[in-house]
Symmetry: C2
Subunit: 207 residues, 2 copies
């Protein structure tokens, strides 16, 4: 791409560094910003740079936070007896959007994946064990993606917690709501049969 | 989407204002920036806001420019006898990328489209007529999208220029290189037959 302005070119190059944004999309975004009010664009760039410089990680659960504690950990209406362990912040947002969970979270910052060079030391596992050791936690719910790495992580953390009296559960895996049996993979279908649930319980869950 | 941080939420909302970027994509982009160095993110936002506040429009051709004249208009190696008339800056970039045109441009800033409320007065047509009136221009090439609005614009400007001795041409319309006849629409195919070109000319164009 040949540009008649180096200001335009640098702006396009900056946008094109973002994941999933190619040069053509970057140009479209930049030309859109060029049509906006100068104040709006300056607000855009100020918000981004402020977000990067001021955002913190909650010292309790490692979720993104505006202060030392995130909105969830500092909310006294939430139960601190149940901790939902997730891989990343996106998962917190996904679970919060269901409005079905009223406990706290623990963001691991990834999952154990030797192939990607991610070992237990790079995750916030030790901090999780410390939280559980305080004795205030009654249940840990693992909400990790259902794959080998997720299962490895559950197994590893489960071993670390085995001497602590805490209930350890994982979110149900099975056929997705609205999914079709014939298109489900064998692993999912097999697990959904072996982990079958009583119908009265299914109905009373009210979803 | 429920966020645990208002800084994160504002940044996602800012990105989600961009065309073609939904909330989920915006979140992905913001979380990507959050992983980058603070200096890189501040460079990103500074580049965007500087682009918006410092960029100019070339006073000759209305292309995007860093100074009063764009790189193309101020380049003495380019012929000023041929002006290629385009709808917007993207078209300039597309034609420049072919490296086949060595004249100057004129960016209309849109095309005449009564349905979208765009009349001739909102375009840089008067400025184009002034440029042609100086007598330095020998040919005007219309490189507008081949549709009703493009043809209307060509017709309108053609009438404005009819008393000035200047050659007026339009880019060839026909079957795209690599295209297949059977999938071409009737209009394109009909025009490509009526505007057929001599084979010796086709070969000598060397493309």
């Amino acid at each position: 791409m040949i540009f008649s302005s180096s200001l335009l070119e640098s702006a396009v190059n900056e946008f094109a560094k973002l994941p999933g944004i190619g040069k053509k999309t970057a140009l479209r975004l930049v030309l859109h910003l060029l049509k906006q009010d100068e104040g709006d664009v300056s607000h855009f760039s100020h918000t981004i740079s402020r977000m990067r410089s001021e955002i913190k990680f909650c010292r309790n659960c490692y979720n993104i936070a505006d202060a030392d504690l995130c909105n969830i950990c500092s909310n006294r209406m939430r139960g601190s007896e149940i901790i939902c362990v997730v891989e990343n912040i996106r998962d917190v947002i996904a679970i919060e959007s269901t409005q079905q969970f009223n406990g706290l979270y623990h963001v691991l910052g990834g999952i154990i994946s030797p192939l990607d060079g991610v070992g237990p030391d790079q995750l916030t596992i030790d901090a999780l064990v410390e939280r559980v050791k305080t004795g205030a936690v009654k249940e840990i719910i693992f909400a990790l993606n259902p794959n080998i790495q997720g299962d490895t992580t559950i197994y590893y953390i489960g071993k670390k917690l085995k001497d602590i009296p805490v209930k350890i559960t994982t979110i149900a895996r099975g056929i997705a709501f609205g999914g079709e049996l014939e298109y489900a993979d064998e692993m999912t279908l097999a697990r959904s049969i072996s982990n079958r649930i009583a119908v009265e319980h299914y109905i009373s869950s009210g979803l």
